[in-house]
């Protein structure tokens, strides 16, 4: 069991991660845009960018609030400011995280894992997509499973995070040759093959960014 502590999921942690992610997403914007133009409607990148901007702009409003309140405000911002599939899903993620019990205590790594797992489960329920349907869940569900494993194991955290980076990347790439059964790409049948799912790519980049920043801390 990993016991290392302090600041995971603090409001300032969340905001600083959002800022990091903004940079990475902007760097990869053209690619993400093209992915959703290939097998979707082309708005995914704008949805993600809008969402990140809204979260970052919340900084002053939430920086002195308790975590639960902050998460709820982030959830409402994301939910009401993005729209589309990703708005509903990412909004659900934060809403559900905010419902984790005992958020007024210090959030250690395990607690943080628990929150993320809870969030991803809620997304799974909301979108009714499982692994293998060519969505962001192809990345998120295995990541969630790995987090679950990590939180009750003795693996070194940095090692664990490296494994997660790898899983996210593999699973993102695995969407390329899938037929889609959920989301817009499902309308394409065979023609969706050969294209990575945009949501899988943006989710993978988000995970990659967070993990790397934790590893390098």
């Amino acid at each position: 069991m990993i016991t290392e502590t302090k600041g995971y999921m603090s409001v300032s942690f969340l905001i600083s991660q959002a800022k990091n992610i903004q940079i990475v997403i902007d760097e990869n914007a053209a690619e993400i845009e093209a992915l959703d133009q290939n097998i979707g409607d082309g708005d995914h990148i704008f949805n993600v960018q809008r969402g990140l901007k809204l979260v970052v702009e919340l900084e002053n409003d939430i920086k002195n609030l308790p975590l639960q309140k902050s998460l709820n405000m982030i959830a409402m911002k994301v939910l009401s400011g993005i729209g589309g599939s990703s708005g509903a899903l990412f909004g659900t993620f934060f809403m559900s995280m905010a419902k984790t019990p005992d958020l007024d205590r210090n959030i250690d790594f395990n607690k943080a894992c628990e929150m993320v797992i809870k969030g991803i489960n809620a997304m799974k329920e909301r979108g009714k997509a499982d692994v293998g349907e060519k969505t962001m869940m192809d990345v998120l569900i295995p990541v969630s499973e790995k987090l679950n494993e990590l939180k009750s194991s003795n693996v070194d955290m940095k090692e664990g995070l490296s494994e997660i980076i790898k899983i996210a990347e593999d699973r993102m790439l695995s969407t390329k040759d899938m037929l889609a059964t959920k989301g817009r790409a499902s309308f394409l049948g065979e023609r969706a093959k050969g294209h990575i799912d945009p949501g899988a790519r943006s989710s993978q980049l988000i995970i990659d960014t967070i993990c790397k920043s934790l590893i390098n801390k």
Binding site: D41, G42, D43, M76, I82, T181, S186
Partner: protein, 330 residues
């Protein structure tokens, strides 16, 4: 990108603002969260109909708010499903106590956001999902088919029933029948340009068309060489008839819908071709609608929708309607 636009971020807001001013006799545009409601309150006992979806399909749905059709419409950003708070606010605004029926096109984003909106709304409510696009295979294990132009017909026909006192259950039942009785097939000659993207969603050759295109410029069944109208229309109708399994002498409503960038003359030519083909197959056209109703920004192209009609459907189709984009009988 060539558009009448001041800046990408304000596009929707400014367009909605103009829409509100131009039709202040029928509707009111509410901001933050954005929704369009009727100018007058829903009368007591009348079920409220709320639809919505990404913007870019105008006049759908805002142009269908008014007597005999919708009570409210929730516009998302261009091609992005609206957010739950819009649906919640719209429902709270229009519900007169008889409940709310959400009319949702079958896209993951719309389904999820409407679901959340419905969960957030405390009043009685239910939903119908339109999925008339025969270009896409139907299945309960996948997202299934897209909801496209037949949504217009559902909104009109259920709108009339609601206006005339139909219960939430009756409205839902009729809406599901109209949806089940409808099939749509679209083709595109050119792409659309999402304002935020600033460039066309897809590239297409000078002699190509996208057969089975979606209303967001999503790829369809196949990329083909362009053909004479009669050939294209025939292929569209065959896909629809295959799906609807219409009997000879069955009564239908024929709806030729422009994608936004195709002139009316061409839509009427398509209508003419479709009439001839259907006649030769012994299918009767008893009602028709031709025009730009469920568009895809400036995309050039058209869709054909056939709706199998019974007395209930015809009666409600013919009933008076008074909205910005559809008006008759009053």
């Amino acid at each position: 990108m060539k558009k009448f636009i001041n800046n990408v971020d304000d596009f929707l807001k400014e367009s909605l603002s103009g829409f509100g001013k131009a039709h202040s006799d029928i509707i009111k545009v509410n901001f933050e969260p954005n929704f369009i409601s009727r100018k007058t309150k829903t009368k007591e006992g009348k079920v409220s109909l709320i639809s919505g979806g990404g913007s870019g399909h105008e006049p759908m749905h805002g142009g269908f708010v008014g007597h005999g059709m919708l009570d409210a419409a929730c516009p998302g950003f261009v091609f992005s499903a609206p957010t739950p708070d819009q649906m919640q606010a719209a429902a709270e605004h229009v519900d007169s106590g008889a409940g709310v029926l959400f009319i949702v096109k079958n896209y993951s984003g719309d389904i999820m956001n409407f679901q959340m909106g419905a969960e957030m709304y405390s009043g009685k409510n239910d939903s119908i999902i339109t999925n008339d696009d025969v270009a896409v295979e139907d299945s309960t294990f996948t997202t299934g088919r897209r909801g496209v132009a037949a949504t217009v017909l559902v909104e009109k026909i259920v709108g009339s029933l609601a206006e005339n006192g139909g219960s939430l259950e009756e409205c839902k039942k009729l809406g599901e029948k109209v949806n089940k009785n409808s099939g749509t097939m679209g083709v595109a000659f050119s792409s659309c340009t999402v304002p935020a993207a600033g460039k066309p969603t897809f590239d297409i050759g000078n002699d190509e068309m996208e057969f089975g295109v979606g209303i967001h410029g999503e790829p369809g069944r196949k990329r083909e060489k362009i053909q004479p109208s009669k050939k294209i229309v025939n292929n569209m109708l065959e896909a629809i008839l295959d799906d609807l399994k219409l009997q000879k002498n069955e009564k239908t409503l024929l709806f030729i819908n422009g994608m936004g960038g195709t002139p009316l003359t061409e839509l009427y030519l398509v209508y003419d071709d479709a009439c001839e083909i259907l006649k030769s197959k012994g299918i009767e056209i008893t009602r028709s609608l031709v025009g730009n109703y469920c568009t895809s920004l400036e995309m050039q192209g058209a869709s054909v929708t056939l709706l199998k009609c019974d007395e209930e459907i015809l009666k409600n189709w013919d009933a008076p309607v008074h909205t910005a984009a559809m008006r008759w009988g009053m």
